[in-house]
């Protein structure tokens, strides 16, 4: 034993000098990406359905896009526990509003409410990036994007989440026509005026591109389309309008059609699903 300066396994007998500290981390990043584009009389809100933590896929189908009212859809991205809970509380506030005022909350009011709800937790934030899409009071398609503490802005399009850096510059180019000029004599480009078919193609291309290059994006995609009341649905439901592999369903109206005096019906929301690569 004299060979050893310290007898082997001596460390096992040594008393632990420093106590091991444990610290609970209340946040996590669940990956995925969301995206919304406004049209003249419609709005498209989309998200992928993969939910992951690190290199681990927790589920291939987790919802990130939520129908709030007949004219509002909310997409959440970031920490999904916070996202789910936030949506739950937004829906509760919307229900209280309807009971108090006998009408559903308008889109811009929902946007302002989301700001106050997010800022209300300024010092223990919901770790969530929100994008709100829908139809404004005047019938125009709208997109509102938020940061986790409630700073918000109305825009023509916005991408958020893991693949924001991949998708947003593509959208700048294709939606805002950045770095493009119309040919001399041609009409000027107007952002937020693209037809639905073009917008849908851009959404699909954005997500297939993001799926190709980002490990946290994939599995499936859900695209919500909110249409202004009385708008033709031919460009979505017409023969051969849907791309290969797409499935569409119309979501049943949530509110009682109290504002149906003009006989046009209300806003209509459609849900298009498409598979994405699972690798």
């Amino acid at each position: 034993m004299a060979l050893y300066h310290n007898p082997p396994m001596a460390y096992a007998q040594e008393p632990n000098t420093a106590p091991i500290e444990h610290r609970f981390n209340p946040y996590s990043d669940n990956g995925g990406s969301i995206l919304a584009i406004a049209g003249k009389d419609f709005s498209v809100i989309a998200g992928d359905t993969r939910q992951s933590e690190g290199y681990n896929i927790q589920t291939r189908y987790a919802r990130k896009v939520w129908q709030l009212t007949d004219k509002a859809v909310l997409a959440t991205n970031g920490f999904s526990a916070d996202g789910n809970n936030f949506v739950k509380r937004v829906k509760q506030r919307l229900e209280w509003y309807e009971h108090a005022h006998h009408k559903p909350m308008g889109l811009k009011s929902i946007a302002r409410m989301i700001q106050t709800m997010l800022y209300g937790k300024r010092f223990f934030p919901y770790y969530v990036y929100n994008i709100l899409g829908g139809i404004e009071e005047d019938g125009s398609g709208a997109v509102y994007s938020f940061d986790p503490v409630g700073s918000y802005e109305r825009e023509a399009c916005r991408a958020a989440g893991a693949a924001q850096s991949l998708i947003q510059p593509f959208l700048d180019n294709q939606i805002y026509f950045k770095n493009q000029q119309p040919e001399s004599g041609a009409e000027p480009f107007i952002p937020g005026n693209l037809p639905l078919s073009t917008v849908l193609s851009l959404v699909v291309d954005s997500f297939t591109s993001a799926t190709e290059r980002h490990i946290e994006v994939g599995d499936g995609m859900e695209i919500y389309i909110v249409m202004k009341k009385g708008r033709s649905t031919d460009d979505l439901l017409g023969e051969g309008k849907l791309q290969k592999g797409m499935k569409v369903e119309e979501l049943i109206p949530l509110g009682e059609s109290s504002d149906d005096e003009d006989g046009q019906g209300g806003e209509r929301t459609f849900l298009v699903r498409q598979a994405l690569k699972r690798d």
Partner: protein
């Protein structure tokens, strides 16, 4: 990479290749120069871009110029894109434990030979220690790499003619660097074809 900023993209077209870079040289968030070219010719069919640490751009460029000149004199022929890629790669790996902070991109058209009368356009890229990838479509590197991937994946298509390839690579670069604070401040594009090289400086956002 984040010290000086800068980005490079290369794309394959139909019997042509394109390589483009921004022109910014910065010191972290502060812009220093808007004429810092990161793409250099080896010969009139082979170009390479060196985004990364600016001091290493000069060192590596001069080192490669020396090695290519020695190759030219010994072999009495021009270096091929593939051989050049391996020259760059081994140069980087020599400094395995104290690397050059550079992610090179190589783009070239191999000269037709008797054995291979119709060689394919060639692009390649490496990490800082010389691990090679040879994509079939496009290669990106630099501080706007993730943005470049997103836009290139959306805009690129196979068999683009030289002028269409120019538009694709230019739009990809401009829209990607406009979302990157460390890249931009002008851009330069080279389109390499069998009979000529077209070099254009692009008007870009200067903010």
């Amino acid at each position: 990479m984040e010290l000086n900023g800068g980005s490079v993209v290369a794309m394959i077209g139909k019997d042509c290749v394109a390589i483009a870079s921004d022109l910014r040289l910065g010191n972290q968030a502060v812009g220093i120069a808007s004429n810092f070219d990161k793409v250099f010719p080896v010969n009139d069919k082979l170009y390479y871009g060196l985004p990364g640490l600016a001091t290493d751009v000069y060192t590596l460029r001069e080192h490669l110029r020396f090695r290519v000149n020695m190759y030219r004199m010994k072999e009495e022929r021009e270096i091929t894109p593939k051989t050049f890629t391996h020259l760059v790669s081994s140069t980087l790996y020599e400094k395995r434990f104290g690397p050059f902070f550079i992610e090179p991109v190589v783009a070239g058209l191999p000269t037709p030979t008797e054995l291979d009368p119709h060689p394919k356009p060639f692009i390649s890229t490496m990490d800082t220690i010389g691990c090679i990838t040879t994509p079939k479509d496009f290669a990106v590197a630099g501080t706007a790499a993730d943005k470049l991937y997103g836009v290139a994946e959306g805009l690129w298509e196979p068999d683009l003619e030289p002028e269409d390839l120019f538009e694709t690579v230019s739009q990809t670069l401009l829209n990607a660097v406009d979302r990157d604070a460390l890249s931009g401040w002008g851009a330069v594009v080279h389109i390499i074809t069998q009979d000529k090289v077209i070099t254009r400086t692009l008007r870009a956002r200067m903010d």
